[in-house]
């Protein structure tokens, strides 16, 4: 029987590996996700067969309950809500690990059974990391869902508290290993839950995708340490795979923003505090335009580059943008999309939205490929993007976002910026692009503004 379970786990681990491998290539990603879910199915079935189904009632109840909620959440959410949903799921995985760890250790601790130090240590890790993952993910969810808004007034205090709580969790973990009493386990859980909150609370919303990837890595590690406690090879392997891949993803994202992980976790608020005096930059230099002005400008253009940003997602303007593209192409113009790797609030955010609007993949150009050719672009239309086209990042070494690679929209012959106001993007810094001579601002909601341009084009 045990051999059968182990064999099933091996098959499942292989499916996870193949799944991850395929998920990381565009052509095979769908298949990769299928392989991963097949692996999970194999694992669950094998486990059900292999364990004495003493708690089968609980299991069935839990699976039905969780499965229903999972399906509802996954099918109902809008594409713009993806980031927070992933955060939420991730939190659930974290607390599940915490609960499994506690449920495994608790009976023995309560009855005073002597436990191996390694079991206690990995149990403590499971509980600590699971707890941080849980509350950290919930805070990330709340921030992205805009349940938690407004500035955090005391970031420094929160960070100090966070360091204290992490240290306390570590101390409680050591106590749990040494003294082996269930009280330490519960205290550890509480301290780590609080640590998760204080870790994520001071981090700016723009950095949430990085935080989610990091917490994803944590939830993998928590699953893996659960495997140590239970002596379960599949938990160890699958958890470690996710732990490693989450960390790699985190670092890839940091690199795309030209920042270190430490800076993301502990430096974001300072950056926001630093840039506030937009007035001086904008004063008297901003040219406001109407949709008709923009349409006339477009009429004479041969090459148009569209730069979407977070605002396009908020306005749900992707379908309007597609219609604009078709209209321009109908007039024989060349239209390309310039996609910044961290445009939006989630890596690949723009790709998902534009794909939803059926814009062909070939039309989307990555930053490195489009940047050298902005000189040949007649009109660059910036829709709800801000930080990713901020020339200060490139030119001003003192800017809080200095060094972040940007799209060189300012080098296009004319720039049209569509947004509702002059208010800053998520990094909170003013954008000199808006004050350039060759820039015209079209103020308004992204979707409405694009639709107006389409009408104006048709009326020319």
């Amino acid at each position: 029987m045990d051999t059968f379970v182990q064999l099933g786990y091996l098959v499942s681990a292989a499916l996870f590996i193949l799944g991850l491998k395929r998920l990381s290539r565009p052509r095979t990603a769908v298949q990769g996700n299928m392989l991963g879910s097949t692996g999970m199915l194999v694992a669950v079935i094998v486990t059900l067969i292999g364990t004495e189904a003493a708690g089968i009632g609980i299991i069935i109840a839990g699976v039905i309950l969780g499965g229903t909620i999972g399906v509802l959440l996954a099918t109902r959410v809008a594409m713009t809500g993806m980031p927070q949903l992933v955060a939420l799921f991730n939190g659930f995985g974290g607390i599940a690990s915490l609960l499994v760890g506690a449920a495994t250790l608790y009976p023995d601790l309560a009855e005073g059974v002597e436990l191996e130090a390694t079991d206690l240590a990995t149990g403590a890790l499971t509980i600590g990391i699971g707890a941080i993952t849980f509350t950290g993910s919930l805070v990330a969810f709340a921030k992205l869902q805009e349940l938690l808004t407004g500035d955090i007034t005391q970031p420094a205090a929160l960070r100090a508290a966070n360091i204290g709580l992490v240290a306390m969790s570590a101390a409680l973990g050591v106590l749990l290993v040494v003294m082996s009493g269930s009280i330490w386990m519960w205290l550890l859980a509480l301290a780590a839950l609080a640590a998760g909150i204080t870790l994520v609370l001071p981090i700016g919303g723009a950095d949430m995708p990085v935080v989610i990837a990091l917490l994803n890595s944590f939830s993998g590690v928590a699953a893996s340490t659960t495997g140590f406690v239970l002596g379960n090879s599949l938990l160890i392997i699958a958890g470690a795979l996710v732990g490693a891949s989450g960390l790699v993803l985190t670092l890839i994202m940091c690199r795309a923003m030209n920042r270190s992980l430490g800076n993301v976790l502990f430096g974001a608020i300072d950056a926001v505090a630093a840039g506030a005096d937009g007035d001086r930059i904008y004063d008297g230099k901003v040219t406001s335009a109407s949709a008709d002005d923009v349409a006339m400008m477009l009429d004479t253009a041969a090459k148009v580059a569209i730069i979407p940003g977070y605002g396009m997602a908020v306005a749900q303007a992707q379908h309007a943008v597609r219609d604009l593209t078709r209209a321009l192409e109908g007039q024989g113009k060349e239209v390309v999309f310039a996609i910044h790797p961290v445009a939006g609030r989630m890596p690949g955010h723009m790709n998902v939205l534009l794909a939803e609007a059926e814009i062909p993949y070939e039309q989307l150009k990555e930053m490195e490929h489009i940047n050298p050719s902005f000189g040949q672009v007649d009109v660059a239309i910036v829709i709800g993007a801000n930080d990713v086209v901020n020339p200060d990042a490139r030119d001003d070494p003192d800017s809080p976002i200095a060094g972040m690679p940007i799209l060189d929209a300012d080098r296009a012959r004319t720039v049209v910026v569509i947004k509702r106001s002059l208010s800053p993007g998520f990094a909170g810094v003013p954008n000199p692009l808006f004050a350039l001579d060759n820039t015209m601002m079209l103020f308004g909601d992204g979707k409405a503004a694009v639709e107006e341009i389409i009408t104006a084009l048709a009326d020319l």
Partner: protein, 92 residues
């Protein structure tokens, strides 16, 4: 399984995870994140294995919660990834 064999499995899987993920294009970051997030719901089998090992009400509640929450993670995670990837793929 001794602790050190478990650790060996862990280390091998970490190396493998790193190799598998380096050099993913940014386009795929979001689906990759949610797909691997679903895999981290593997803790579900830990929850299942733990059910029925003890009959105290406290552990039963812990286990029920663990199974349900892990199932949300697994089912929701794979489904949402599939939806996202579907949007990409219509285009090819």
């Amino acid at each position: 399984m001794t602790f050190l064999i478990a650790l060996t499995l862990f280390v091998l899987a970490v190396f493998l995870g790193v190799e598998l993920i380096t050099k993913v294009p940014p386009t795929l970051h979001t689906p990759l994140m949610s797909g691997s997030n679903a895999i981290s719901g593997i803790t579900l089998i830990g929850a299942i294995a733990t059910a029925g090992t003890d009959y105290s009400w406290l552990t039963n509640i812990l286990v029920l919660g663990a199974v349900a929450l892990a199932t949300i993670n697994v089912v929701g995670g794979f489904l949402v990834t599939h939806r996202m990837l579907g949007m990409f793929n219509r285009k090819r």
